[in-house]
Symmetry: D2
Subunit: 330 residues, 4 copies
Amino acid sequence: MKREDLLAEPVLHMKLQPYMTVNQLIQQFSNSGCFGAGRLAAACGVFENMVRDEKCTVFLALAGAVVPAGLRSIIADLIRKRLIDVLVSTGANMIHDLIEAQGGHHYKGHWFVDDFFLYKYHINRIYDIFVPREDFVKADKILIEMFDEIAKEKQGQVLSTSELMRLIGSRLEDPKSIVRAAYEANVPIFLPAMRDSEFAYVHIVHAERSKKEKALLVDSFKGSSEIVALAERSRHLGMVVIGGGVPRNTVQHAALMADKGLDYALIITTDRPEYGGLSGSTPEETISWGKLKKKAGKVMVIGDAMIIFPIMVAAALERFGKDFQRKGNP
Amino acid sequence: MKREDLLAEPVLHMKLQPYMTVNQLIQQFSNSGCFGAGRLAAACGVFENMVRDEKCTVFLALAGAVVPAGLRSIIADLIRKRLIDVLVSTGANMIHDLIEAQGGHHYKGHWFVDDFFLYKYHINRIYDIFVPREDFVKADKILIEMFDEIAKEKQGQVLSTSELMRLIGSRLEDPKSIVRAAYEANVPIFLPAMRDSEFAYVHIVHAERSKKEKALLVDSFKGSSEIVALAERSRHLGMVVIGGGVPRNTVQHAALMADKGLDYALIITTDRPEYGGLSGSTPEETISWGKLKKKAGKVMVIGDAMIIFPIMVAAALERFGKDFQRKGNP
Amino acid sequence: MKREDLLAEPVLHMKLQPYMTVNQLIQQFSNSGCFGAGRLAAACGVFENMVRDEKCTVFLALAGAVVPAGLRSIIADLIRKRLIDVLVSTGANMIHDLIEAQGGHHYKGHWFVDDFFLYKYHINRIYDIFVPREDFVKADKILIEMFDEIAKEKQGQVLSTSELMRLIGSRLEDPKSIVRAAYEANVPIFLPAMRDSEFAYVHIVHAERSKKEKALLVDSFKGSSEIVALAERSRHLGMVVIGGGVPRNTVQHAALMADKGLDYALIITTDRPEYGGLSGSTPEETISWGKLKKKAGKVMVIGDAMIIFPIMVAAALERFGKDFQRKGNP
Amino acid sequence: MKREDLLAEPVLHMKLQPYMTVNQLIQQFSNSGCFGAGRLAAACGVFENMVRDEKCTVFLALAGAVVPAGLRSIIADLIRKRLIDVLVSTGANMIHDLIEAQGGHHYKGHWFVDDFFLYKYHINRIYDIFVPREDFVKADKILIEMFDEIAKEKQGQVLSTSELMRLIGSRLEDPKSIVRAAYEANVPIFLPAMRDSEFAYVHIVHAERSKKEKALLVDSFKGSSEIVALAERSRHLGMVVIGGGVPRNTVQHAALMADKGLDYALIITTDRPEYGGLSGSTPEETISWGKLKKKAGKVMVIGDAMIIFPIMVAAALERFGKDFQRKGNP
């Protein structure tokens, strides 16, 4: 490599002006090309490419309490426009979607509070969000009834988490719900750790009041074969990660088990690689496992997903233009 | 509160000398009482207290690739001495334990490498650890056979992850294995996201070569009732967290579902609360949910568990003295 | 406080659309009000308020390599519009401004490189930026000449860093330069650690070739009285921090020495408070010292300033409208 | 490179036992060799090597509030044993040493407090440390008198920060003081941003009550030539960094200006490289600038210096044995 090749592209300093659009700002980030600005600009490009790739099945892996905090509509809209094709989530995010689907709310609170005071007031805290316990109770009640009803309908049939989420989605009315939108758009929702959430409580109550034999039976491994089959049917694979954890690992592992590497990987996280955890691992590391292709479009943006993800989506929407609707895959 | 109460305890500066023991160092950290040193010293106290509390069931929640990186023996020893009573883990950490139980190894590698080069060499990277693919393959093969055998034995009976881990443990010989130690010491291992790991691949191959009906059926929710029952039977509850994620949430949620708060909570993590994720949430926040008691012994140590956890355990072992053996709970 | 007061304001989920402006996006962040989105929306409000406050002297404290990475024009424009009144910076950022003022450049590079290879190629790396050594050499040469010239002109007079920066600014031609813009707009530049930068080398060479007695004499403490006097003359004080370190501390300490607390504090950083360093300390902590008023508008945004700062400025420009020009203080 | 070379050294799992010494624990960390444990074990080796290297001048670069939090005696002892030869610090850390040298104290406090309440109580907070304002006032008073006295003695002579610190050290009695120990051991203390601390206030009051011409004149740049000369006289250069910021940069830049690279670099920090700031930059990046030699012993430990630094020093003291006294350099 020649020296001049290393010094080919000067940093252009960002210029700002009133009324610039989000995508115009991203262009300025691209002019800089450095540090977080460079990474975010690159992320917008990777997202644009994976969505424009008509052969690509786009997985959104979702961890962290981003649904209660305000990303619910963005995700539901992405599903309806089929900018994403598969959702892999923590159980908790779907519970929070369902709480709102049943009329519950999350509230702007504060982190500097006496938590025992909140406890006595029946208010659960998620950093600076407050959730009244009665909204959990209401959602629990409706979900338990749904579980009863589904169990009766399915008569001991073994379900996967995605089948169960689809059955729940079909019973919802709230058009703003992620679970409902996924049902309507035929986007499967995988919850590889479904029981690690309020769904566990729902199932326990449901199972106790059913005769045990008739309680819903959710097969831990059924979702594995489903997601692998889905990856096998896909021609290209793209992954967008918010947070990391089980959802990210599940998508990557599905690509591996389908004997395909991901073609696109976009990771938004605050974790870093030096502690060795999966959530902070670089896209490059993923190549060694065969989970990501060598030539994949890939970028890791370090930052709060509540800031980064909306910017990226807004920039992409601008690039796609009004009325953009994707066909969806696979 | 009077001013003098706020200025009651001066920082004493640490003194170091050759040949000091780990616990003597922690005493110096306690003299400082500030920043990370104060938190680590407090953590040693909380850990000591929960282990000395004869009524306490101690849960270890394990996330991050700490087993491949060198904590395997420490955890197996803790189990044998019953310093912990329940293990809740990611699937991956148990897979890495099983890889070594089958004669495989993890290797000291480097993070500054060409990952595509590793890929071609069939070497998987975990930050600065290298794992040869053949060791995965060997473990897969043996696990698939175990799954076949267990399926035949259990004849369609529905299992929980802890039952399955116990059956695997009973088939192992390596005394250094965590899974074996847990079997011998009657310590249950819960894997709330078992399928999010190489176990998924193992199950897929096993299921394909079994007649489908006879494949192992692991019930997603069965572990929930087991862990809740276990928490209900416990008089006190203690939690030690490495990392966070699904394992931490599962333990906290079990305490809630058992309608008891945790009495002790010790969290070692590099996550921070400001992004709203569970892994970084403070013990205080956990109080608002009723998952942690108001007066619980609690501390969050921010740092690499590969450093913090061994220090804490070494200090505790020194406090307990040689030949300390705990009876275990519940 | 009543329970309903804690549950007064529900999180409104963000809605995105093509062609939305940066400020419209910030409104959506404000609807969420949580986690990083809430903090960034609040930051825009604090910045807007301090700029609209006609009595407020706005200090920008600048650390981190953000000038080489692309914020140069934004800062120069803020100075020209007098959205900031005082700049307190590391020496390095001003050196990088001067490198470009002399025709040098910073280049988009990569962090995954062999640094010894770069060394042999005479390329200095700043994470993913490359700076050719000859651009340093060229800037050094011109700065040494300026130092010689200024020393001759000033005849042994003792200077402060802000006086020296002003004399340098007066000698520049590049209208895009921060140092030039500050000269033209009468915005003082304080460099409390000036010698901790290439200026040290410049001064050494200058001093060696001058007769020692005639070398420029920059008084370490002269800037302290200047900045305190400036704070005393100001009716309100506002602080915007990128990074932290010496620049942040200098501004806060000036407010204290002037026996005034800051009225506005906006901090963009990736540091966290738990390690006890100044850069990560919360605005709240600053209140205990009397450096920040109890009722001050204050917010700390955790994130990469290369992303956060431009968003905040773009949103503010939109709120102020085209052709907004501030008078400036004190 | 052959595949077997990549798989040469298996991770050995740590074994813990009661009464193990700190250095024995580090040996276990070395057996793992991974993640933070590997980095910390490597750091102990680098520190041992630089201290054992009889030609090496060891610089300690000190940022962050680690002196108030309990590292004062460790640093003073390192100076007396000449395990370090040069101290480069923030002003604040020396102020806190001087507060204690005048009988003041720092107190164990808490971070979850009402800071305005502390303000009214005249208590300054540094995360979870409380400092009573009267201890600042007492130190201020004595320092102002010292400044008066030194100014009279020096009669307008221009001083560097290290000369001034030496003159202050000579006037102290507290044997536990860092500044006193440095004076006795002939270890220079450089404060490249001296004015960014309470020293600024001390100087302002001193200057106001002196006739201006007789006030102490501290030359910003004099320290630069001193530290460069010191580096030039040194045969090898070693750097230990706590935190980063101006102190780290000053040491690295001195090595560059002396036209020598550092031979050893050991950095303890919580900053990361991806944001582009100096504090988080890798030792490797430092090679591109010529500030660090290609073959230098180098390691960056990510973590709280209040934990990492004492461990590392305790392990080193054990390796050196009792009564180890280094001659010192240059």
